[in-house]
Amino acid sequence: MAENPNNKRRDFLQLSTISIGALGTAAFIWPFLSSMNPAEDTLALGTTEVDISSIEEGQSITVKWRGKPVFIRKRTKEEIEEAKEVNFTDLIDPEQDIDRVKKEEWLVLIGVCTHLGCVPLGQKLTDNKGEYNGWYCPCHGSHYDTSGRIRKGPAPNNLPVPPYSFLNDTTIKIG
């Protein structure tokens, strides 16, 4: 049987049939997997405009952007000083305060703990702000400073800064 020249031809035909069939089936997995990614209308909810004229110094507001809370805080002089004074190279996720803001007094953050996605406390005046006077995540005990940088606890990264721009002095566009 092995000497039969037809066998090589048969092996080739079998192998190529199976391969093409398998490839075709595998290719069809893609549309199914892709359908599970965010849909076009979900992606379209990309931007939010916020009026910030009513926020006093030391106050924060929470707005929703892409379903997530965004913290907008008008920082006090002391808070800005605290954020700048730290030797940033010693931090868990080293970042300078200046790189995290567009205007010093305005801090804009995605209010989702980088550990497992809880919303940190610290937006209300009565909230526990943690040991670094910023935000404190009650779920697993992460402490963030006045620049939203992780200082203590299990979270690996700083609170992220969303893409935003100042349309004028009193309006921010997030996204």
Partner: protein, 421 residues
């Protein structure tokens, strides 16, 4: 399959008609009538049947709940409240389903304990054990997704925390998380797909249970002595002996679960889940269901995100290789004077982990969780593979019938079990 003799196997002509075309009658006769069970099996051997029945109850109650449930973020919570208040016997369906889930885990944990204590996972039942761990994994996935459906605060934040575990994976984690959620956060897309999967996974479990049972029937059930069936005298027929025994177990189980359903339906529920989901406010304390809490404790015991996630998944994955970690030739812990206590301590430790998994991860609780974590992995990686080197097993009885003769004292050494490798 020729001849009229096949046609006249049963008195009932309809059965014969079926049997000739699909030999399902003789299959059930063989597997659930004649099937020989070791006659020394105790009531721990009823928990497989209990688990199967609980699965069926979960599927039936779930289908009827689904007829009144709406998987949409704006309506899910209210539709569950409507089931509780307005749908006829809706409260009963929901309490059966929610408490049934907890009891499903209780029954399965006892079933797993039985398998570990009596060495049911050893040769030739390794594949059986692996199928069982698959069932357990599917159960955890189904339970997690089912818990999200009422769309309360615990549903929402539990889903957020668990799906965020995937974001710990380097490079692809964030993309994987968004793909799983279908949105940037837990949202309507997530709720919809969780409902679809929660509906279908139990049927997958049912299929794997079929394989699990078929696999155990190949070499027969293990027994408390952990020795092989040598003759017909070692066994009793499945029907009526085991069917009757299991029926009594089901009755007792029914009394216990009914007591909880009717008199303490929220004993195992979290009050925060009666608050509608709010994406902007995290509850002060996120608590998993008790039956998943041991793994949550392991996750939180590690102060590093990726490390915690890896250990948590590792703690489940390690179960798959248990048949190869245990190098002892003796199956049953009845004859293993040292390992026996470590197995029992393993289960005590598992429930202690569950207990601290539901409390805040700080101070003493965190310390207990870390000790528990060390024992969990130490049990699998150090005690199980090496204990047989220092342990002298008691001598095994020659056969199952000898168990009743007070035998075993002067019987053979464990090497008599040559087929155990």
């Amino acid at each position: 399959m020729s001849g009229n003799s096949e046609h006249r196997k049963y008195k009932n002509s309809f059965l014969n008609w079926i049997e000739f075309r699909l030999p399902i009658i003789s299959y059930f006769e063989k597997e659930y009538g004649d099937y020989p069970m070791p006659k020394n099996c105790n009531y721990f051997w009823s928990f497989g049947a209990l688990a199967t029945i609980t699965l069926v109850v979960m599927i039936v109650s779930g289908i009827f709940l689904a007829m009144n449930y709406t998987p949409h973020t704006d309506m899910a919570f209210d539709s569950v409240e409507r089931i509780m208040r307005d749908v006829n016997y809706g409260w009963l369906l929901r309490y059966i389903h929610s408490n049934g889930a907890a009891f499903f885990f209780i029954v399965v944990y006892i079933h797993i304990l039985r398998g570990m204590y009596y060495g049911s996972y050893k040769y030739p039942r390794e594949l059986n054990w692996i199928l069982g761990v698959f069932i357990y994994l599917l159960m955890m996935a189904s339970a997690f997704m089912g818990y999200v459906l009422p769309w309360g605060q615990m549903s929402y934040w539990g889903a957020t925390v668990i799906t965020n575990l995937f974001s710990a994976i380097p490079f692809i984690g964030e993309g994987l998380k968004i793909w799983l959620l279908g949105d940037y956060t837990v949202g309507n897309a997530t709720l919809n797909r969780f409902f679809a999967l929660h509906y279908v996974l139990p049927f997958v479990i049912l299929g794997v249970v079929g394989l699990h049972v078929a696999a155990v029937h190949v070499h027969g059930s293990n027994n408390p002595a952990g020795i092989d069936i040598k003759s017909k005298n070692d066994t009793v027929r499945f029907f009526p002996y085991m069917v009757m025994k299991d029926a009594l177990a089901v009755c007792v189980f029914g009394v216990i679960i009914s007591a909880v359903i009717f008199f303490g339906p929220n004993l195992m529920a979290e009050v925060d889940n009666y608050i509608p989901a709010d994406p902007l406010v995290t509850p002060a304390h996120i608590v998993p269901n008790w039956y998943l809490a041991p793994f949550y404790a392991i996750l939180r015991a590690i102060p590093d995100k990726l490390g915690g996630v890896l250990l948590m998944f590792g703690s489940i994955a390690i179960l798959f290789v248990l048949p190869w970690l245990d190098r002892s030739k003796v199956r049953s812990c009845n004859f293993r004077p040292i390992y026996k206590w470590f197995v029992m301590l393993f289960f005590v430790n598992f429930f202690i982990l569950g207990y601290v998994g539901m409390l805040p991860a700080e101070g003493l609780y965190l310390l207990i969780a870390r000790i528990g974590l060390v024992y969990y992995f130490g049990f699998f990686l150090i005690i199980t593979p090496f204990i047989h080197r220092i342990e002298t097993p008691k001598s095994l009885p020659l056969g199952i019938s000898d168990v009743y003769l007070g035998g075993g004292k002067e019987a053979l050494n464990p090497n008599a079990q040559k087929e155990i490798i």
